[in-house]
Symmetry: C2
Subunit: 353 residues, 2 copies
């Protein structure tokens, strides 16, 4: 399947909201993705394992969009729908990969930088002649036939919303709410540096399409299970400062996670509390996974560290200010090793100015 990119200029000229991302479109465009999917009858929509708000909100909004256009939609995630996102409209549309191999006319991959992030089971079960992708990760490996990739977009949900608005695709309140959650969560509540005037313009349109901001904010931010509060307390009590307070790190062993009754999804956001300390340039969170590996989550500020490059060293990836990796070794070994390397990289960066 060839995705023609010659009509990019034409598309950009016809945009009612000038350029939805404030920069040149890369690879294919939304209209090309739309066109490519138009001929597909059965479409599978997928996003990365251990899904966040952007992965899930984008998946559900896209599912509703394509369903409304008459396609037969299946939506899978390797890990299914985390409990804390059960409030998303149409949440029941999302399932886990089936036991048998399934055949589709096309697969739409959302918010996923590399094929293996989709998960082994999902990749083993999904078959289709056409794979297309919409993503905002700078590290996207362009592993599908069609790719619309916008590293400047703060969320895949914003790209979808911009695409819908550009093409006059009707946005139902349910679609708007899913897109809102995608954008709100991936911008850290409209705080991260990729949040732009266009983000606010697009979100204003989503609210006018039917998002109840107070209600959905309460679902996103004020419905934490009690165990997450206990985990938070645990994380703060166990926080360590190193490299002249420029690194803050905390950890969670498997034993502690079990004692606190922690689900994998519960640990999200803890690292941002460490990052919010003035002197801290880099925050790290080490979590022992059920398979014995250690998940490293990394946040940086001030461009003092390229978190994505740092994590790629361990086979991970992400964004320049937020990245992660899964590392083999004991919690103590990985923690010591990563913190030492972090201190070294930070020293090089800071002395090179």
């Amino acid at each position: 399947m060839h995705c023609n990119t010659n009509d990019l200029t034409l598309l950009k000229d016809s945009l009612s909201i000038s350029d939805p991302m404030g920069d040149l479109l890369e690879g294919n465009s939304f209209s090309e993705i739309h066109e490519a999917l138009a001929k597909a009858s059965r479409i599978l929509i997928v996003s990365h394992a251990r899904p966040d708000g952007d992965a899930l909100g984008s998946t559900l909004a896209a599912a509703m969009w394509l369903q409304n256009e008459g396609h037969v939609i299946t939506a899978w995630n390797e890990d299914g729908l985390p409990e804390k996102f059960s409030y998303l409209p149409g949440a029941s549309l999302l399932g886990k990969p089936t036991e048998q191999v399934e055949y589709f006319d096309a697969v739409l991959v959302l918010d996923t930088a590399s094929k293996n992030r989709l998960g082994e089971t999902l990749l083993a079960r999904a078959r289709a002649p056409l794979w297309v992708a919409i993503d905002h990760h700078v590290s996207n490996e362009q592993f599908t036939e069609c790719n619309w990739i916008e590293p400047r977009a703060p969320a895949t949900g914003q790209m979808l919303a911009a695409g819908f608005l550009m093409q006059g695709i009707p946005i139902t309140p349910e679609m708007a709410t899913n897109l809102y959650v995608a954008i709100a969560t991936d911008t850290g509540s409209f705080q991260y540096h990729k949040t732009s005037a266009q983000t606010f313009e697009i979100v204003a349109k989503l609210i006018r399409a039917g998002v109840n901001v107070g209600q959905i904010s309460q679902e996103i931010y004020a419905s934490q299970p009690r165990r997450r509060f206990e985990l938070f307390k645990h994380a703060l009590v166990h926080t360590q400062f190193s490299a002249d307070n420029r690194i803050a790190s905390t950890s969670l062993s498997r034993t502690q996670a079990i004692a606190l009754g922690i689900s994998p999804e519960d640990t999200e956001g803890i690292i941002d509390t460490l990052r919010s300390i003035k002197e801290v340039l880099v925050a790290a969170f080490f979590e022992e996974l059920p398979d014995g590996r250690i998940r490293l989550s990394l946040r940086s500020k001030n461009h003092s560290l390229d978190a994505s490059a740092f994590c790629q060293y361990y086979g991970g990836g992400g964004h320049d200010m937020a990245a992660g990796a899964s590392i083999a070794g004991s919690l103590e070994f990985v923690q010591t090793n990563v913190l030492e390397r972090l201190a070294k990289v930070l020293n090089i960066t800071l002395t090179s100015y």
Copy 2:
């Protein structure tokens, strides 16, 4: 001074952004306030004591606006500028009340519901024949000659921004940044229920006027002093749950505050962490003040408690979901008393449905 309200309809018809607050204007309008101030040469701008981001951002933006229009501006706050807001553009414009009584042609009161919230010293030093007010508190006592009050606006900063946009008043990057901080902080980073499509539309215009979202977010959210992290930890460790986990509360004694090196401004936001727990309907924070009184901060959700009404019982006030009071008595006495009354009020509300 009489503020004519007859041209309200005319004003609303001429709005380029239809109605900036999504509802009828109450009292006077921005153009009337503008007109009333036009004849004043020396203008004092003030807002409530213990100022938050909305009070300070609105004060500084208004100071720049009126300075640009040729007025001689003085900006006071009873407590001056808290250290954590020192990043605000033009922060040096804000001072404390002088030692002697000062005479002005007009006083512009921002974001302040009642006269006594301005502070004793400030009230004793400021003299002017005309007082005008712009505010979004539902509890505003309309204590000035002219009042533009919009209880539906999520921030006084949003009202100012809407006024500037309506009247074509140039918004410099410095004004935009102050207004952005006002709106971002008073909406809890665009989460509280009064955040509307217009909030997002107005903020988009502020960003286009020169706000650097990533940079200012880092100042607001990622520049917490280390002592605030320690306070946070302290607050979580000392959190108590009562009334079947529907109330979460924590406290800070004077001795603990001194041990942690806490400034009054450091305690802001702690209560939101308690409020974010799913089962919790009401969060309370008790802080022993230097004068021996206890400051109660209260947050509710789901309209299960009118926080403003509850705090008015103790001589305080605020908004329906966020209010406070300063109460005489020992920390333990006040805590016990308030928690008991809270449980009672909650029971009445919950059983009346």
